[in-house]
């Protein structure tokens, strides 16, 4: 059916491809949703509501895929749906292999959808999956044993099937199978093969073709399986509407299936004397024929077949819209400009007499407040909850733990904590690496855990929380923790200078050294220790920090601290000559008035300053940026201590101008990369001020 839809739509002048993108997005959401539900599914006590929700995900993807002509997707989802339908009707009991195969199918669907979207990749071979699902649907549910249970639980559901069939579903029976009309008669051979593949199905023998039936093949089938099961299997190869079951040897009833075929070919129908039905509409034979006999069970069927669900997700969908990130960024940029204009107005109007210009001053105050609110509101558009990052980990950990033969439970906290979208994208990889490390190197094998008096199942906790203007994401595990001795030994083997006097935290930080691996056995999971240095570098480049805590035998904790957004930051403005520079407030430790005797010169040109018995390098910003001087007598007298990458330096400046929120403008995209500068901003008076890259300044001091 899906194959022909394109031609028809062309006839109607409607190009279905315009809906593809929405379908892809929707299918992606459904797949995510399904995966999450499957991972959360308690196999021992599967909740009806959950099973229905999972079913609906597959069902929805199938509907769209069939409509828009993605027949491979429709085929796989159809089989998943069949299995899920049996599960939600309690005709089958969920097992871990079923969950596995459904998860794998989900992966396959993602790949297929990706291919349809043109992202390329290998063609997805689903034959194994299809075979497994089919076997689960048919093989693991022997009808003889299942039928009484099913009947007891959903008597109405079975009734019409039983009525249409010649005998009860217990025991084998012989029916005539008609397949057609077919474009290619050999399509029916696939059904014969099916019986060969799945021997439990019974036997199939061809019958001589009936000349009165056009392009239709007939078979004699001896089977114990319900017709619905057979239909589900057949739909791989032929459309449901092309299949008809008749009592074997009963030649007197060809009219009914013929009419059914006709009705199905039309693809629609109207109920006899139903409200609103077209007057000319003729009742369609099979429905009206079956219906009067069983109007009561029909209503009873409605419940299990289409249950209600009180999930808020769909309601949410109605109240959200999709907007491209570029539009949001444009909005943020414009608001940034507005903030600058507002600041300029505020500065220029400072000298106005409030008595004379009362209305203007009031208006400017309002503008100030509204601009701030607007800025906050616009920034919040880009904020997305951490759950979007966390949601990928249950599946990853599950696969990883299985592979390593470990037992791990993932606990997530603070999923609602929001973070800038840009940061979310960039933090996902480092976090993935940390979680993998915890599972691979941290959590012990179940036997070791028991031997150490720990619960067999290890716990990895992902926690996000707001702390001041930052977000802190922690990855904790209750595994073996870091070993001080082992790390020191390893470091020395690698030729890293690691004296015994290092503090614990300095020792832990050794794992961020390039090429450092703490596992005795190199695994294909965490690789060769490559990455921890990259992890640290990535986080630092986002303006974040990483901290490690560990207790040997009890586990470890890695805390990643990130700014909430990259677009605005709290800065401290300092003046050097005629120039203004911005220091990220988060990196400022202290500032003080400096006197000549505090500064010492070492090694010829290097200068250090003594603060509370501690020496730190001095960096003269006027030299770094070659600030022109007009008053030659001038002596800078203020030092600002900044900290980055566990190093501190004292910056020599002329004056502290104040603290303010600044809108960060990227210098690289607007100009070019400048050493020691991470960005720029426009000040209230319209001047551009450079934002200093403290990390780079600290590194400079080390050379």
């Amino acid at each position: 059916m899906a194959d022909t839809s394109t031609d028809h739509s062309a006839a109607a002048g409607i190009d279905l491809s315009q809906f593809y993108q929405v379908f892809f997005e929707e299918a992606g959401e459904n797949l995510e949703n399904m995966e999450q539900l499957l991972l959360e599914l308690d196999i021992e006590a599967a909740d009806d509501e959950e099973m229905n929700a999972i079913f609906r995900c597959a069902h929805s993807i199938k509907g769209g895929a069939a409509t828009f002509g993605f027949s491979d997707v429709a085929e796989l989802t159809h089989q998943m749906e069949t299995l899920l339908d049996k599960l939600r009707r309690h005709e089958l009991v969920p097992t871990p292999p079923m969950v596995d195969v459904l998860l794998q199918s989900g992966d396959a669907l993602k790949a297929m959808l990706g291919r349809h979207q043109g992202s390329g990749g290998e063609e997805v071979d689903t034959s194994g999956l299809l075979f497994n699902i089919r076997a689960m649907v048919a093989g693991e549910a022997p009808p003889a044993a299942e039928a009484p249970v099913a009947k007891a639980q959903v008597p109405a559901a079975q009734a019409p099937v039983a009525a249409a069939a010649t005998a009860a579903t217990t025991g084998k029976r012989i029916v005539e199978l008609r397949v057609g009309p077919l474009n290619d008669l050999s399509q029916a051979d696939n059904l014969v093969d099916l019986f060969k593949e799945i021997t439990d199905l019974g036997t199939i023998e061809p019958l001589p073709d009936d000349p009165s039936l056009d392009a239709t093949r007939r078979f004699k089938v001896e089977t114990a399986s319900a017709e619905s099961e057979l239909l589900d299997l057949f739909t791989f190869h032929v459309a449901r509407e092309q299949v008809a079951f008749l009592p074997y040897g009963d030649a007197a009833t060809p009219a009914a299936p013929a009419a059914q075929a006709e009705a199905s070919e039309k693809g629609y129908g109207f109920f006899d004397d139903a409200p609103g039905a077209p007057a000319a509409a003729q009742p369609v034979a099979p429905v009206s024929a079956v219906e009067p006999q069983q109007p009561k069970p029909a209503t009873a069927v409605a419940k299990p077949a289409a249950p209600k669900a009180e999930k808020p997700a769909a309601a949410l969908e109605a109240s959200t819209i999709r907007v491209s990130v570029e539009k949001v960024d444009q909005l943020i940029n414009l608001v940034g400009e507005l903030v600058i204009t507002q600041a300029m107005l505020a500065q220029n109007s400072r000298g106005l007499d409030p008595v004379v210009y009362q209305q203007l001053v009031t208006g400017l105050t309002d503008l100030d407040r509204n601009t701030r609110d607007l800025q906050e509101a616009v920034m919040s558009i880009r904020m997305i909850p951490m759950s979007t990052v966390f949601s990928r980990f249950p599946r990853m950990l599950r696969d990883l733990a299985n592979k390593l033969g470990k037992k791990v439970e993932l606990v997530t906290q603070g999923e609602a904590t929001e973070l800038d979208k840009g940061l979310v994208e960039k933090i996902t990889d480092p976090l993935t690496h940390l979680v993998r490390n915890s599972c691979d190197h941290g959590v012990e094998m179940p036997a070791d855990r028991i031997a150490n008096g720990k619960p067999e199942v290890g716990t990895i906790t992902l926690a996000a929380s707001h702390q001041g203007g930052s977000i802190v994401i922690e990855v904790r595990d209750d595994g073996r923790g870091l070993s001080r001795e082992k790390l020191l030994r390893k470091a020395r083997e690698k030729g890293i200078d690691a004296p015994d006097s290092l503090t614990d935290s300095e020792v832990w930080n050794l794992i961020f050294a390039p090429g450092f691996s703490t596992a005795d056995v190199v695994t294909d999971v965490s690789g060769r220790g490559v990455g921890m240095d990259v992890v640290k570098k990535n986080i630092t480049s986002l303006g974040g920090t990483v901290e490690i805590d560990s207790a040997e035998g009890y586990g470890m904790r890695v805390a990643v601290r990130l700014p909430l957004t990259l677009a605005i930051m709290d800065g401290m403005s300092v003046g050097v000559g005629e120039e203004v520079y911005i220091l990220p407030l988060s990196s400022v430790v202290e500032s003080f008035q400096v006197s000549q005797e505090m500064v010492k010169t070492i090694g010829g040109s290097g200068r250090v300053v003594e603060v509370r018995d501690e020496y730190m390098p001095v960096i003269e910003l006027e030299k770094v940026f070659q600030v022109p001087r007009f008053d030659w007598e001038h002596n800078s007298g203020i030092m600002v201590v900044v900290e980055a990458e566990s190093g501190r330096v004292a910056l020599l400046v002329d004056e502290l101008l104040g603290q303010q929120q600044v809108v960060v403008k990227n210098l690289e995209t607007n100009y070019r990369k400048v050493n020691d500068v991470s960005g720029a901003t426009i000040m209230g008076d319209g001047r551009v001020a450079l934002i200093l890259d403290v990390g780079s300044l600290v590194r400079r001091s080390r050379h």
Binding site: S9, V22, G64, T67, F270, F271, P275, P297, V301, K308
Partner: protein, 120 residues
């Protein structure tokens, strides 16, 4: 202009149906599930209701039943979209008061063909 209430929890299907109907000159109100549709049907009437079956919050059968309870939907054609052309579903639809059914997947041509049969 005839007004049609189109109910489907799938955004892509909703867009396709809506676009097709609008192109054919109908006025379309979209609803994301039975509950949404029921709320949108309050205090107004439609010339046709086109509803999916399996939806969160309220399914198509329940929607049909509830709509039939109110006077302005007593005789309104209500078509259900069923993925499988199952007799069970059709019987349930009939018992609930549906006018007819349309099998999913369908293409725009078929949709218009059916609708023109019930809206004159």
């Amino acid at each position: 202009m005839h007004s049609i209430l189109a109910v489907d929890d799938s955004a892509s299907m909703r867009q396709m149906v809506s676009f097709t109907l609008k192109s054919a000159g109908y006025n379309v109100v979209e609803a994301v599930d039975g509950q949404d549709a029921y709320e949108k049907a309050q205090g107004r009437s439609f010339d046709l209701v086109l509803t999916d079956q399996n939806m969160p919050r309220m399914d198509g059968i329940s929607l049909t039943k509830k709509l039939r309870e109110s006077p302005q939907f007593k005789t309104t054609p209500i078509l259900m979209l069923t993925t499988e052309s199952s007799d069970q579903m059709k019987q349930a639809g009939r018992a609930a008061g549906a006018t007819g059914w349309l099998v999913k997947p369908f293409d725009p041509t078929k949709l218009i063909e059916v609708i023109q049969k019930v809206i004159r």
